[in-house]
Chain length 194, copies 2
Amino acid sequence: MKFCSECASPVSLSIPAGDNRPRYVCTSCAAIHYQNPKMVLGSIPVWERDGELKVLLCKRAIEPRYGYWTLPAGFMENNETTAEAAIRETQEEAGANIKLGNLFTLLNVARVHQVHMFYLAELVDLDFAPGEESLEVQLFSERDIPWSELAFPTIQTTLELFFADRVKIREGGSYGFHTQDINRTMRAEGEEAK
Amino acid sequence: MKFCSECASPVSLSIPAGDNRPRYVCTSCAAIHYQNPKMVLGSIPVWERDGELKVLLCKRAIEPRYGYWTLPAGFMENNETTAEAAIRETQEEAGANIKLGNLFTLLNVARVHQVHMFYLAELVDLDFAPGEESLEVQLFSERDIPWSELAFPTIQTTLELFFADRVKIREGGSYGFHTQDINRTMRAEGEEAK
Ligand SMILES: [Zn+2]
Ligand SMILES: [Zn+2]
C-alpha cells in the first residue's frame, strides 16, 4: 500500500495513538488503513454408496499450484456467511450441488495471513463439472487420493483428519471439529523428484 | 474506497474478467482491490473456586457501545493465529492472564462483514485491570450478568451458550463447539426503556 484509498495522498507506516503496531496512516487525511487476515472457505464433498466413500477434488487451473489437486475452496466474500461461502465455492469450482454438514477444520496459516475452514458435505447428485478455476473435477476413494499432488498443506491436513475420523466412525464415533496451526509449506515443484 | 492504493488513480466499481461480482478496479494500473470479511477474536475468561464460577467482562471505553459490557475481543491481526489473537485481546482489554481452552463459538455477522469467535479460557490469577479500551473489568456470576447492558448480540449468544453448556456439564456432558448466524441487532439506546 502506497497511497490513501480515500484521498490519494501518500501513506506512511506509523503507530497511531492508542495502538501498538505500525499501520498505513495517510499523511494528509490521517485515515488509518488496517490490514487483517482473510478467510478461505471450502467443503469436503463426499459421495457414499454401497459402503464405498469417495471425495471430490478439483485440479487447479490457476496459480498458485496450477495442476495440483484441491478441495473446492476460496476467499470468503462480504455479505455472506462461512457456510454460504463454502457452498458457493463448491458450486463455482466443481459445479457441485452439496448438502452442507458441520464445520470440520479451522486451520491457521498465519504465515500468509489466512484462516482456512472446511465443512463436511454430501454431494446431492453426480452433476459436477469443472468451473473456470478448475482443469478437471474427480471423485477419489481414499486409496486413490493423489497425496503427492495436493495443492496446499491445509488440504492434506483436512483430508488426513477426515479419513482418521472415518476410522473412528466405523468404531462407533462421530466426526469431530479440529483446529490446527499450519506452519509447513508444500515442497516446491523442483524438489518433488528428490 | 475512491483511489488506488498502489498508484493513486481513481478506482471504479466493475466486474473483472472471470469474476462475478463488482470490485474496486484501478482505472490506470488495473489493480483489483478486494474487500473481505474480518475476524473478531475473543475469550470467555472464567474463575472457578469452591464450586462457584464467574466470568470476566469488560465495560467498553470506546464506541460503538461505549459503557456496555463485553467479553474481551477485537480484530485479529496479520501474522497471528486465532488463539494468539484471543489471548492478546484478553491481555489488552482486561489485563488478564489466561490459559486458553477450545474454540467455543463461531458466529457469522454477515450484515457487518464479520465472523466472531470466542475461546474457552481460565484465568490464571486475579491480576486483571482495565486496558485503554475498557472503563472497568469485573467478574460476574451467572445471576449477576448484566444481560440488558451487553454490547453486542454475539456476546449475548456466547454467554447464553456457555451457561447452557454448564448445565450439560453438571449432568456429565462437556463443552460443545457452536456455530450460529447472527442477524439481530442490539436495541438502540433510546429503545431500552420501552
Ligand atoms: Zn487520506
Ligand atoms: Zn492503480
